[in-house]
């Protein structure tokens, strides 16, 4: 099966992202817009504001996919989770939508919540497991054990989910290749339908990043990250998974169309604090603090805190950078047509040097990374982005 064939051509329809900004703890590596909020009345206010924002922004578009992410959507208690899905369902008929994903964390998902989600139209669950090693989970500040993650996975199956994904992380400081191999095996043993395996990134603003700057932690050797990265692709291929993007692997469940839609520069609406939207080269991001966002939403004001408009060439360069991370590559001719501008000439010099370095392959239409190029995807993508900046 070609996993990307299922993706509708870009421009048709809009995806919806719903951001739930609460977590049980703030993980040391995480720079997502999430907060530890005990006060349940804030959850209610969040839901009220979400309703208001959806009413103001969604307005009956044709929906491609829905993603309920976070933060930790599964942390909402059963009644509130139900209300969340009802609110969203009022604007978007969830059960008719091809893909409705939700993120769940092992420490907060329960069979009861899983059943509610299933009933109200969630078709795909993605659970953050990150590691099966207690000391790594601790290092990452995760609020659950490996066993709890396995149990939670079973509960999701029990609730009837046929499409389950697991998030894992490798390259955690002091992690050995052996440990990572065993994590992969333990994840595979659960029989997931999709896997995301992310190399740990030190993101500015996180606890881990500060530790790095203060020399309290040191990153792993690049050589080891590389070994783990390559092992992941090899092992998952063997297990029947298709690597359709740098960090994403499709099993029986196919790729995550929602993410693919992002990478194909599709339009999407993001609701909730700090959520981003994109429409035809205009990207905007909502206010981040829950209160500021909720105040704006409830007052019927625009929730965006920042916006940028890409120039056409910048858009084209971005399309290459985002698209080239996908295994099926970027169709440069299609981008030319979509954006109505000639590109091949502009990209010519970059293309020539990339081809010479052996990082890309080009058949006159589709540009793909070679196995060597895959490991240098930022370098390759960065070169294209630079073309977009130059003019």
């Amino acid at each position: 099966m070609n996993p990307s064939s299922a993706v509708k051509s870009v421009g048709s329809g809009t995806s919806l992202y719903v951001h739930v900004p609460f977590c049980v703890v703030k993980c040391g590596y995480c720079d997502f817009n999430s907060y530890v909020v005990e006060d349940r009345s804030v959850h209610d206010r969040f839901l009220d504001a979400l309703d208001a924002e959806l009413r103001a922004t969604w307005r009956g578009r044709e929906v491609v996919s829905v993603f309920l992410g976070g933060g930790t959507p599964s942390l909402l208690d059963p009644d509130r989770l139900r209300r969340l899905l009802e609110i969203v369902g009022r604007h978007v008929p969830l059960r008719e939508c091809a893909e409705v994903s939700m993120e769940a964390n092992p420490e907060s998902i329960t069979l009861e919540k899983a059943i509610i989600a299933r009933e109200l139209g969630v078709s795909r669950m993605s659970m953050g497991v990150q590691s099966f090693h207690a000391h790594h989970l601790k290092f990452l500040d995760r609020a659950h054990s490996a066993e709890r993650a396995e149990q939670a996975f079973a509960q999701l199956r029990e609730a009837g989910f046929a499409n389950l994904s697991i998030d894992l992380m490798f390259g955690i400081p002091h992690e050995t290749c052996e440990e990572w191999r065993s994590d992969l095996e333990r994840a595979l043993a659960l029989g997931p339908d999709h896997l995301s395996c992310y190399n740990l990134t030190f993101e500015p603003g996180t606890r881990l990043y500060r530790d790095l700057q203060r020399d309290v932690v040191s990153p792993n050797e690049q050589e080891e990250d590389r070994t783990m990265f390559l092992h992941t692709r090899e092992r998952l291929a063997q297990a029947g998974f298709t690597a359709y993007e740098v960090s994403n692997f499709a099993g029986r469940g196919g790729p995550c169309h929602h993410n693919d839609h992002y990478w194909l520069q599709g339009d999407y609406v993001g609701v909730g604090p700090g959520a981003s939207s994109h429409r035809a080269g205009v990207r905007c991001t909502n206010l981040k603090p829950v209160e500021a966002w909720a105040n704006a939403a409830l007052a019927g004001l625009p929730c965006a805190g920042s916006a940028e408009t890409l120039r056409p060439l910048q858009r084209a360069a971005e399309a290459v950078w985002l698209g080239i991370r996908r295994t099926s590559g970027v169709d440069l001719v299609a981008i030319e047509q979509r954006l109505g501008m000639p590109l091949l000439g502009l990209f010519e010099p970059i293309l020539a040097s990339q081809l010479e370095a052996g990082w890309v392959a080009f058949d006159g239409r589709t540009l793909r990374l070679t196995p060597d190029g895959l490991l240098m995807a930022d370098r390759v993508g960065g070169d294209f982005l630079a073309v977009g900046v130059a003019r």
Binding site: N199, N259, Y262, G270, G274, A377, D378, V389
Partner: protein
């Protein structure tokens, strides 16, 4: 015309952060020079850098009218000065324009190193010094003890020092009255021939060089022809005025006053700070004033334009900067790695940083800066002494008889309990103990002799942390002494990079070489191949490091909300790459040339 007897010219001097600029605010406010709504904190610190750093860098003058309790209106010309050692030249110049000085001392901190230095400068300039105790609103204020410290350290009576709070305004009216009562009026004669001293200047694209002057004798007004005596140039006056604190034109500046002169001066070289202005007409000329002692820069570094074609523009910017700050110097130099640039001299490291940032902001220059070094010397076999401001100036080893390094006298003021801690730092830095003076019972001033190279980098930080922030210091270069110096060369992928080589004491050469390589290892990005880093003394490699080749360069995660940010990051990295310097096949970021600086104490 204001009667000269009704003028008072004074500077505010103090240690860093004792509240000079804040007191200036209160004086400006209380005299009604500005309306309340025009006020902001530290009003006179209007340079972007000053506001960011919360310190005064340039002295600033302001003219105020004050209706005193005796019913008479006086003209007060205030000059707010910086407190940091590196800007001492600003204080020196300001004092020449005044008859009196307010010596401000933080009533909780007490006398500190710069308090002593600045007070001595004021005494040397024969000014009347009025002690003022500031920050009386703080619970830890201890006015009696601090007054005692002033008497012990500076030998001026301090029992009637005025206790004030520049923050709340407490007793600031008493300060104004004391200025009127105790600071002498200027003595110049308005009928005499013009004699005015240029104590500062700034270049303005439309008006040319604006001269800031203190008029000592005579008067000056619009349309008169003036002559600058040192440069022997003449110009027609377009405007004269006062600083309130913005420039406000007046008809006439006369003896005793402080103000500005605009004369459409487009040639920067015609203006020398400290020069005397008189009339061009021979019958109306006066004699030149003594001028200032030019400070001698002791810290040097190279400034290179990021883009080589900007060399001439950099020269112009440096000329403008020098007009506004004559305590720094520059001369062209070349480097194999960096091309054409300038060797610049400064009074200290903060001074260097400030000039560099002003060039980047005010002049929009993009600079590569090389690591700073102190001024060394070598005695050659023919007896000649050669000054070494850059390792590339070293003569051939065969003609060097002796290396010499500058030695400073350092005064450290601390509570007595930290004497031991200060001694420890001193011995760690090849220093010698000289003497101790007590101020009151608990505070001491410790005199030390330490090689300058040991104090410019992080001595101050160490002192602060070893004394819980209480220690303050001041230093002065005393002379040169023979020293065992070596040149450490840095090689990247086998090529020597001249801009990274440095001179230092032999005992420290290896460890510093190692530290620099470690730093370079962090600063130079990975390449597709392994990059070797080496430090060598003579032909011998004393340290090595390597940068492993790039094996993986791919972002793990790129989700919808992250696209803008990640894209901008990569775009920025690309931009940064364009600005790297190529040495052989290795690309070196501009920042790496400063590695020698960041070798603090991580081991």
């Amino acid at each position: 015309m204001t009667d000269t007897r009704l003028i008072r010219n004074f500077s505010i001097i103090a240690h860093v952060d004792h509240g000079k600029s804040t007191l200036a605010d209160r004086l400006v406010e209380l005299t009604g020079t500005l309306q309340k709504r025009q006020m902001k904190e530290q009003l006179l610190d209007d340079m972007e850098l000053e506001r960011e750093r919360g310190i005064t860098i340039k002295a600033r003058a302001v003219a105020m009218n004050y209706l005193a309790k005796d019913g008479i209106t006086y003209q007060l010309n205030l000059i707010d000065t910086p407190g940091h050692v590196d800007f001492n030249y600003e204080v020196l110049k300001s004092l020449q324009a005044c008859e009196g000085a307010l010596l401000l001392v933080d009533a909780s901190q007490g006398v500190e190193a710069q308090t002593v230095v600045n007070a001595h400068l004021a005494e040397q300039a024969k000014l009347t010094v009025l002690p003022v105790l500031n920050k009386m609103d703080l619970p830890h204020a201890r006015p009696e003890q601090v007054a005692q410290e002033i008497e012990d350290a500076i030998c001026i009576p301090a029992e009637d020092a005025i206790p004030v709070s520049a923050k709340t305004g407490l007793n600031v009216d008493l300060v104004l009255e004391a200025i009127v009562a105790k600071i002498p009026a200027p003595t110049g004669d308005p009928q005499a021939n013009l004699q005015a001293m240029i104590f500062d200047a700034v270049y303005n694209d439309y008006r040319g060089v604006v001269l800031f002057c203190r008029v000592f004798q005579g008067t000056v007004k619009k349309t008169e022809m003036i002559r600058m005596m040192g440069t022997m140039t003449h110009y027609e006056v377009m405007e004269v005025g006062k600083l309130k604190p913005d420039m406000q034109p007046v008809d006439l500046l006369h003896a005793g006053e402080v103000g500005y002169i605009v004369a459409n001066i487009k040639k920067l070289q015609d203006v020398v700070i400290g020069d005397t202005v008189t009339h061009e007409d021979e019958k109306r000329r006066n004699v030149a004033l003594p001028g200032f002692r030019q400070p001698k820069p002791m810290v040097f570094c190279g400034f290179y334009p990021t883009v080589p074609s900007e060399f001439e523009n950099l020269r112009k910017s440096l000329e403008k900067m020098r007009l506004n700050d004559s305590s720094f110097t520059f001369e062209p130099e070349t480097s194999d790695a960096l091309g054409f640039g300038f060797r610049c001299g400064f009074l200290g490291l903060l001074h260097m940083e400030v000039i560099q940032q002003r060039l980047e902001r005010e002049e929009d220059m993009d600079l590569v800066q090389t690591a700073p070094t102190v001024r060394y010397r070598v005695k050659q076999t023919n007896g000649e002494i050669k000054e070494i401001r850059s390792p590339s100036e070293l003569p051939d080893g065969s003609v060097i008889e002796e290396y010499q390094e500058p030695i400073t006298h350092v005064n450290v003021v601390v509570p007595a309990i930290y004497i031991g801690a200060v001694m420890k730092i001193c011995t760690d830095r090849r220093g010698q103990y000289v003497k101790t003076d007590y101020y009151g019972k608990e505070r001491v001033m410790i005199g030390l002799r330490i090689p300058f190279a040991e104090i410019i980098f992080d001595f101050h930080d160490h002192l602060k942390s070893a004394t819980r922030g209480y220690g303050t210091m001041d230093y002065e270069v005393e002379g040169f002494e023979a020293s065992n110096l070596v040149k450490v060369r840095i090689l990247i992928a086998g090529d020597e990079v001249d801009a990274l080589s440095f001179l230092c004491h032999k005992d420290q050469s290896e460890s510093r070489g190692r530290k620099i390589l470690k730093q370079l290892r962090k600063e130079i990005p990975r390449h597709q191949f392994e990059v070797a880093l080496q430090a060598a003394i003579g032909g011998k490699i004393v340290a090595r490091e390597s940068i492993a080749p790039m094996r993986k360069d791919v972002t793990a995660k790129c989700y919808g909300g992250d696209i803008s940010r990640k894209r901008k990051l990569l775009e920025k990295q690309k931009e940064g790459k364009k600005r790297m310097r190529q040495v052989g096949s290795v690309e070196i970021p501009q920042k790496a040339f400063l590695s020698v600086l960041r070798t603090g104490d991580e081991d």
